[in-house]
Symmetry: C2
Subunit: 237 residues, 2 copies
């Protein structure tokens, strides 16, 4: 198959990944709107839409492997497809965090008791979605510099989660403990969304520079590498 | 390069992945020993060893991509390398959960207050490590049947985590809430380790059968597919 044909297929695949990322981002927005009681849809709808995201993840992965098999790409093309496989996986997990948030809202509704909504959640949501969007933009523009700076922005999200933790701890003394735990869980899921966005950024740096900044932590020039799979803050619940 | 050479390199890579999985499994064992106060090493040692696992993950990934680039494998060989990339990623995350547990133990020590150790933790640990070991064995033996049954065993881990949650909720009324939350966090990390092991099993089914059982949930014959990235139980903290 001619190279132009491969390039075209790879572009189509990239576009599918971007479309998926928009769908995932919307899921997060709707889930957090539910958690902060500004909902425009019901939790069940988020659960249903997640099925579409799951299907799309599988389809993107199959197409990526097909491209590997049929065209046997080299160098940057090979790295691009491997990066698509990784971003695809992280995006699907972000979608799962939106589902977790919707399910926590369902449990809060069952209880009929709603603890005070921590005001930090909206800022966390804004930051996490911003990091996610910029990570995908960095992928499209092969912009290692932006990708590399995402970790510092994630630290803000971690700090906000930590303050939610402290506030909810205070409320637990007076209010329903398990309702407070659901709210903490919501905060933690937003915090994890930002972690996945940082992972995507790290994959973009790898793609552009051909070397990994994962796990390098303070040893990286910018000091913002480092695995983000870990519990984000010392108080992660 | 001749095919025998490729086969040999692929075998070497598989062996490295298995060696890494043994290291990761040991990290989990040591972390849970710390949490249940039967430690033989200090938490800091787990943090140090995690760096080695992180380095090995990066090295395995680089080797896998090199194999893709140099040999342009087809069919089962291509799927094997993609599966190695995925298992590698899940194993590294399991290692991070061991670190999370060690860090929770450090925070408990700082507090000087240790809530009662939930007896379920040891059984959860035994089950989670068993699932992980069998997932890797299924990979080596291309045993889709065993891989497919891991989800049912994960349900047991979820149920145990749920019962830990209920016990800790009771303790929170009398004891230090944030110490109880650390213990809950430990339980949750063990629960997530089992989820990653199930993911590995799903990748093995894909490898053997060439079709994915991810996200299929109840629609799968065995009813044990389904994404395991989500919060495992309705009370996940």
């Amino acid at each position: 198959m001619p190279k132009e044909h491969f390039d075209q297929q790879l572009d189509t695949l990239k576009q599918r990944l971007l479309d998926m990322s928009h769908g995932v981002e919307e899921q997060v927005a709707e889930a957090v709107a539910l958690a902060t009681r500004q909902e425009s849809i019901e939790p069940e709808e988020i659960l249903e839409r997640d099925q579409e995201i799951d299907d799309e993840e599988v389809a993107i992965e199959e197409t990526a492997i097909e491209l590997l098999a049929l065209h046997q790409p080299m160098a940057i093309d090979l790295r691009t497809i491997v990066t698509i496989l990784k971003i695809n996986n992280d995006l699907e997990r972000v979608g799962d965090h939106a589902v977790n948030i919707a399910e926590a809202v369902l449990r809060l509704r069952e209880k009929g008791e709603y603890p005070p909504v921590p005001p930090q959640l909206e800022e966390m949501n804004r930051l996490a979605r911003g990091i996610l969007r910029d990570a995908l933009d960095a992928f499209v523009n092969l912009d290692a510099e932006t990708a590399r700076q995402l970790g510092a922005r994630d630290d803000e999200v971690d700090a906000l989660h930590e303050s939610v933790f402290r506030v909810m701890l205070t409320h637990m003394l007076d209010e329903d403990i398990s309702a407070c735990l659901q709210m903490l869980l919501i905060s933690r899921n937003i915090e994890r969304i930002a972690d996945h966005a940082v992972n995507i950024g790290e994959d973009v740096v790898y793609l552009v520079q051909g070397r990994t900044i994962r796990h390098t932590g303070g040893k990286d020039e910018e000091g913002e590498g480092g695995g983000r799979q870990r519990d984000g803050s010392p108080v992660s619940a």
